[in-house]
């Protein structure tokens, strides 16, 4: 890791300068909202109100927030099943996201997608994908289209460390590089796939960064628990992509505080590892930094209280929503709104 870090010019990794204060405040607010939202989602799961499954990004907020803060509204997000934070970060309403997790009519997709498929095209959140690897190739398509339309839009695609070992990752990276697509691939290396550590099944130490050279890309490794670093790396990569410089592959080192999904306590992970990463929790870390640069604590407390209020309201609204109309079972398979396969 040190070796790679040393090779990485610091200025390139974290951008020209520290983010402006209003950017930092926006990032902090996003992270706090994500954290409170997901803690509530977890409670609702334990109460049986969030059904099926859910994959939380608790601990990984600095990646979602740092990148979202660096994106233009016209840029595209592609995420995985661990996509609540990325969806909220693009501005999708909390209540609609919560209602989707709960299978309610007010859900972002009226309950037809569920937690693993959060999508809000209006916010350029182009989908959460639950088959490992596929969405890297789809993000390429959005970037290709942007390039052909000369639209200046950049596609940003998030995925896990485990995703670097599936064929689609390599097909996507190669095509993106060959076609010089405006796409930024972001590997959230949280060290674990489901229940197996990435290091035990991967030929290289840094599953994404160490593969970058194979596609003619510079390795970029950032501290994914430091929102200033993720923001800085995002700015550099996104602007380069926007100005025709081609794709980037960024590995952000981070950690999930909880288990892989549902109520998994994550007990397969060594205690010392969990403790060390909890001590690097991106949110208190950022809070300390903001206080250090002179932000009034009362301002932060207000952000924290507002997040709680917003999550309370979102949960109430979602719970009050009825189940989806049953006509939706056979709706919207085709553009005509129906599902008929015969004429």
């Amino acid at each position: 890791m040190t070796e790679l870090r040393d090779r990485q010019p610091a200025g390139d990794a974290i951008g020209p300068a520290a983010p402006a204060l209003e950017v930092r405040m926006a990032i902090y607010k996003m992270m706090v909202q994500m954290r409170d939202f997901e803690k509530r989602a977890y409670d609702l799961f334990l109460q049986g109100l969030v059904k099926g499954t859910s994959h939380l990004g608790l601990g990984q907020e600095a990646v979602a927030a740092g990148f979202a803060a660096a994106m233009l509204p016209s840029d595209y997000t592609f995420a995985t099943y661990r996509g609540h934070n990325h969806t909220l970060a693009r501005g999708a309403p909390m209540a609609a996201v919560m209602a989707e997790l709960m299978g309610r009519r007010a859900g972002l997709m009226a309950g037809k997608g569920g937690s693993m498929h959060l999508t809000s095209v209006e916010h350029r959140m182009m989908g959460s994908y639950a088959i490992v690897g596929a969405h890297l190739t789809i993000a390429n398509g959005a970037a290709w289209s942007s390039k052909l339309r000369r639209a200046g839009e950049v596609a940003v695609c998030f995925f896990g460390d485990g995703t670097t070992n599936i064929g689609a990752f390599h097909e996507a990276l190669n095509l993106a590089a060959v076609w010089k697509l405006p796409v930024v691939f972001v590997c959230e290396n949280n060290r674990w796939m489901e229940y197996t550590p990435i290091s035990s099944v991967t030929a290289v130490g840094h599953p994404a960064a160490d593969r970058a050279r194979a596609y003619g890309l510079d390795p970029v490794l950032v501290d994914g628990n430091d929102a200033d670093q993720t923001y800085g790396a995002a700015r550099v990569a996104i602007e380069r992509a926007r100005s025709g410089g081609g794709p980037a592959l960024i590995e952000a080192e981070t950690y999930r505080h909880g288990g892989h999904s549902r109520a998994d306590p994550g007990k397969y992970r060594p205690d010392e590892e969990v403790e060390a990463w909890l001590a690097r929790d991106p949110i208190p870390r950022y809070r300390t930094r903001l206080l250090g640069v002179g932000v009034d604590e009362a301002v932060l407390v207000r952000i924290e209280e507002e997040a709680q209020t917003a999550v309370d309201a979102a949960a109430r609204e979602a719970e009050a929503s009825p189940p989806p109309d049953l006509s939706l079972v056979e709706a919207d398979l085709w553009a005509d709104g129906g599902s008929s396969w015969r004429r």
């Binding site: 997608g113 994908y129 993000a139 052909l148 396969w341």
Partner: protein, 331 residues
Amino acid sequence: MGGRGVVVAEMTYRDAVARGIAQEMDRDPSVVFLGEDVGAAGGVFKATVGLLDRFGPERVSDTPISEQAILGAAMGAAMTGLRPIAEIMFSDFFAVCWDLVANEIAKTRYMTHGQVALPLVIRTANGGGVRFGAQHSQSVENWAMAVPGLKVVAPSTPRDVVGLLAAAVRDPDPVIFFEQKSLYPTKGDVPDGEIVDTLGTAAVRRHGKDATIVALAAMVPRALEAADVLAGDGVEVTVIDLRSLVPLDVATVAASVVETGHLVTVEENPRLCGWGAEVASIVAEERLFDLDGPIVRVTTPHVPLPAADALEDAALPSVARIVDGVRRSLL
């Protein structure tokens, strides 16, 4: 020459592919085309010759051998304003990118409650008869038919290649377009000017009152040959070219079964779960009392296709097996 000044030219099925793609790319600048060897080389079947020169490398793109990346690019482009046509060189290769076809492209409109539209076409060379062996010959239109969210089209004539391809490109939903590779050198009349068909409309290729044969792609000309043989014995059959499996033109099939009382399906699919089984089950469920004999399915046996010409010919439905099938249905 056709009537009313419409010029009709004889053209191969192969050349009709390039003509159909060019017709749509000329009309709509958002139509783009990508695949392996499709540009500079003009396609491994030479079905896309001339498109690169005519439309340039931005709109006609040669790709690496990356079927998932090809379909992912098509999908991402379709969801952001383009209308891609992607080529999968051989339909057998769907097996290496089936996630994109069956999980991503097919399900996305539904899962997103209609937020995402995917107006894209995947063209592919399908089926046997060219002695390529089991991994380059299979008829897999039934795989696609089994996935909710895909439209499935398979033309049997050069004219239909142009008209159905245009309909597929203009359709707001994803369409899998199966070109039968043994048909590429076959010729047919194609009128001049724009041709646009309607998906989900079968064509009655021959009319007879004794039995109904339902066929697709390369099995259509074969069924017509069988009809000639049967006519020599005084048996007059209707031959329906389905042209599209999804949407399925049940009405045309049912109307014919009501008239003839006998149904034979002729398909290249291996026996189990071939599309003929679906057609047979619909007719059995909805038109049982209009039938005067058993429904007969003529299929490839439940085997991969062998390579040797003698073996492949024995596996694929032949004129003799179709004639025999009709006779069994008339019992």
